[in-house]
Amino acid sequence: MRIRRLDIVGFKSFMDKTVVAFDEGVTGVVGPNGCGKSNVADAIRWVLGEQSARHLRGRSMEDVIFNGSETKPPLSMAEVLLTFENDRPSELPTQYQGYSEITVGRRLFRSGESEYLVNGVQSRLLDVNDIFFGSGVGRTAYSIIEQGRIGQIVSARPEDRRAIIEEAA
């Protein structure tokens, strides 16, 4: 389940359609304070099915939709697509095993309507979770470390630390 690309439009500070291509090895993301690097991380978390706005620094999920700048008006939809190479079909639910690539998508409208998509077909969050289950992509407690969170692992309560290891179990 190698990630191939991330397509972002209307998500947080990414007003325009942005494509991030991922190659093998290590990909670095740099730039000045506030330019949008952690927002890319949030986009990945969000398309994987993050349910808590607080984990995305928001107060309600609507906060992830581009809210405008001093010169640009807000948008009414946020959309993120994450495309994987299907290099281990056996890890996927039967219905998806035949595809060479799997694109998981999520949309949120200001009206509150929200959609999940798999290869362009509207699906449920349950289907998205099933896709990620076998490959381990869903184990974000240790595979996605947000800014500032590394220090918390040492100051965390023992029960919370257990939860990170439980995710690997």
Binding site: R2, I3, S13, F14, M15, D16, T18, V19, V20, F22, D23, E24, G25, V26, T27, G28, V29, V30, G31, P32, G34, C35, G36, K37, S38, N39, V40, A41, I44, G68, S69, T71, K72, S135, G136, V137, R139, Y142, S143, I144, I145, E146, Q147, G148, R149, I150, G151, I153, V154, S155, R157, P158, E159, R161, R162, I164, I165, E166, A168, A169
Partner: protein, 160 residues
């Protein structure tokens, strides 16, 4: 299930004991399960002893030592149960040059089997990566992604 957790815990603990001295260039560390109170579950306690120092409460460690201890644990869990990709956002921020170097070496090695995405301000990390993207806000409030070529890297990195 409780046996499956214990099994994973033991594997992670063993790996943690190997990763820590590699990142710290010495020292030792380990995990301990605390007593479960009542019908609660046991929590996980961390012991961390940087090279040359005495074993003390983990709170007394420095900012960088705490971060590197946590990174050792995260990498240990990752090595036991790898995921297709791993995203680390400014995890190298509190680390000095020597520690960043060992951290980068280990990420490079693990990236042979999983993809790593590192968000960073650190020049040494920028030089280690295989693909480098810059995020800019030419238009205030609007993010834009640009690809940074290898030859441009040193001056782009210097400007960031």
């Amino acid at each position: 299930s409780r046996e499956r957790f214990q099994e994973t815990f033991d594997l992670v603990n063993e790996k943690f004991q190997a990763v820590f001295p590699r990142l710290f260039n010495g020292g030792r560390a380990g995990l301990v399960l605390t007593q479960a109170d009542g019908d609660g579950e046991a929590g996980v306690e961390i012991f961390s002893q940087p090279p040359g120092k005495k074993l003390q409460s983990v709170n007394l460690l420095s900012g960088g030592e705490k971060a590197l201890t946590a990174v050792s644990l995260i990498f240990a869990i990752f090595l036991i149960k790898p995921t297709p990709f791993c995203l680390l956002d400014e995890v190298d921020a509190p680390l000095d040059d020597a520690n960043v170097g060992r951290y980068n070496e280990m990420v490079k090695e693990m990236s042979k089997t999983s993809q790593f995405i590192l968000i960073t301000h650190n020049k040494r990390t920028m030089e280690m990566v295989d693909t480098l993207y810059g995020v800019t806000m030419q238009e205030p409030g609007v993010s834009k992604l640009v690809s940074v070529r290898l030859s441009e890297r040193t001056k782009e990195a210097a400007a960031a």
